[in-house]
């Protein structure tokens, strides 16, 4: 090791494809597993949350309008970019207290999870959709469509947990506002660097770091957010957030017993899908 002084990274927010500081000018210190200072993370405000929702809404039609094949390639590209930064993420996870083996395994699992979900982009419609045999001269089909803007409250697993809740939300065409793990937010911002270089349009994923209890009520009550994933929310706060989410009938994904660690099935995708049914007469 040389005695060269390292150039540290400033951890900022990720909104609309850019990396702004919190408009509030606040930050909070993030420490490693032993309580040592790691970095100051941006302490996002409700206005940052608002800006993130605006960015997500703006990005929604374009992202939802991409072909499944295109979204698949972009998610796969994310996996490629993550693979290229494997060592960086492993080191970052070790800072949170994970052993080297465990950190490396988590990074590998996160990469593989992007690959798993990438493949779903052009298949979920076939699995969740239907041609419905109605009793009349009509062609009738149902297709799943993205719900819209999804607020994702990520669990405290800094990378795999985050990817496990984020990827299923965006692969189908939703756009997201993510509240990263409060104690371990740094990997989320580093992941944003990956997203920013993976051809993912700006605004599809917006990442906020800060205090969960401060940000989530604003997102749960925001009338232009269509759904909320409460996976990272402690049980005692669920009721309040669900009540707020009822304001505009948000689709709510409650924390589940198995959480994000369960084998990914389709449930996390279908939770944020609408079913659209189209009728048309059959005649000459």
């Amino acid at each position: 090791m040389s005695d060269r002084l390292a150039v540290r990274k400033t951890y900022k927010l990720y909104i609309a494809g850019a990396f702004p500081r919190s408009e509030s000018g606040r930050s909070y210190p993030v420490t490693d597993g032993k309580g040592r200072f790691l970095a100051n993370a941006a302490h996002a405000s409700r206005k940052d949350a608002r800006d993130a929702v605006t960015a997500a809404r703006k990005a929604f039609p374009g992202w939802a309008g991409r072909t499944g094949y295109n979204r698949a390639q972009i998610l796969y590209r994310i996996a490629e970019m993550l693979e290229g930064r494997r060592d960086q993420f492993t080191a970052e996870l070790r800072h949170t207290g994970a052993s080297k083996t465990h950190a490396a395994a988590e990074v590998d699992a996160a990469i593989d999870r992007w690959v798993w979900y990438a493949g779903w982009a052009d298949k979920i419609t076939a699995v969740a959709g239907a041609a419905n045999p109605v009793a009349g001269p009509y062609f009738n089909f149902s297709t799943p469509e993205p719900t819209g803007v999804v607020a994702v409250i990520a669990p405290d697993s800094p990378l795999l947990g985050l990817v496990s809740v984020l990827a299923p939300a965006i692969v189908t065409g939703n756009t997201t506002v993510v509240v990263a793990s409060e104690p371990a937010p740094l990997a989320a911002i580093t992941l944003a660097e990956v997203l920013a270089t993976s051809d993912l349009p700006g605004g599809v994923v917006n990442i906020l770091t800060g205090h969960r209890t401060e940000l989530t009520p604003w997102l749960a009550s925001h009338m232009d957010v269509n759904a909320i994933d409460l996976t990272g929310i402690p049980d005692e706060h669920v009721q309040d957030l669900e009540e707020k989410a009822a304001g505009n009938l948000k689709r709510v994904h409650r924390p589940t017993a198995t959480g994000w660690t369960a084998d990914p099935g389709t449930a996390r995708m279908t939770a944020f899908l609408e079913t659209k049914t189209v009728w048309h007469p059959v005649g000459v």
Binding site: P281, V282, G283
Partner: protein, 303 residues
Amino acid sequence: MTTTELHGFLHGLPGVDQVGAEERAARLASRSIKMSAKAEAIDLAISMVDLTTLEGADTAGKVRALCAKAVHPDPSDPSVPKVAAVCVYPDMVDVAVGALRGTGVGVASVATAFPSGRAPLEAKLADTRAAVAAGASEIDMVIDRGAFLSGDYGTVFEQIVAVKDACGDAHLKVILETGELATLDNVRRASWLAMRAGADFIKTSTGKISPAATLPVTLVMLEAVRDYRAATGRQVGVKPAGGIRTTKDAIKYLVLVNETAGPDWLTPDWFRLGASSVLNDLLMQRRKLSTGVYSGPDYFTLD
């Protein structure tokens, strides 16, 4: 008009959605016409019948019998109205005219190489002139479906114009033979084509092709005459023909007229039913209404 002009016009008409049209016709067919309305409808339907015999085996005797029936559909009940017209082949026109003179029942004749229409124009015109000369007050011509289906609208148009000219004072009913036109879009186009060429009536069918008149086809034709009058001020009549066998059928057509083209069409001047067997059923139902008991076929004449 040229084929090109007609093509532009006819294909610029709003389309017809088959399922929607059939649904509308079925909905109207579910109207429940009872009591006084039924009595009124039966008499109206009788007065709209074009009592028809179009057989190779037709004879003067057969036609005279039909004419007698037309004037007094129910000999035992003078309150039964007479039918609108008797419809025969051109060579039977003089027989019918003789039998119906002074009765107020019209004589209609099919012409123009009915039912196929596959004859030279000169033959069709001669056919028409012969019928008119024999005293027919109404001519039921067929369009050239081959020309229509091949897009040669100009030929169809010109033939109608020529036949109309040959009709003189006789009313011209133009048979579209909708069973061969296959789609309701074609029915609408053919209706407008015939009206623009001068038709006084548009008529569904020859009765020789299946399907003959149907409710959806008649619905589309009624919409056409309604829209044509709104656009031009000229009223054109409608005649479904073939397949109308029961009182229930006939009343469904009247409801269709009432709620599509409107009450202005609910007279024999503007709406006809091309049929023969329906008449006895109308008479049977009429007697049921007046006597309160069901009648039977033995009480009505088979002519």
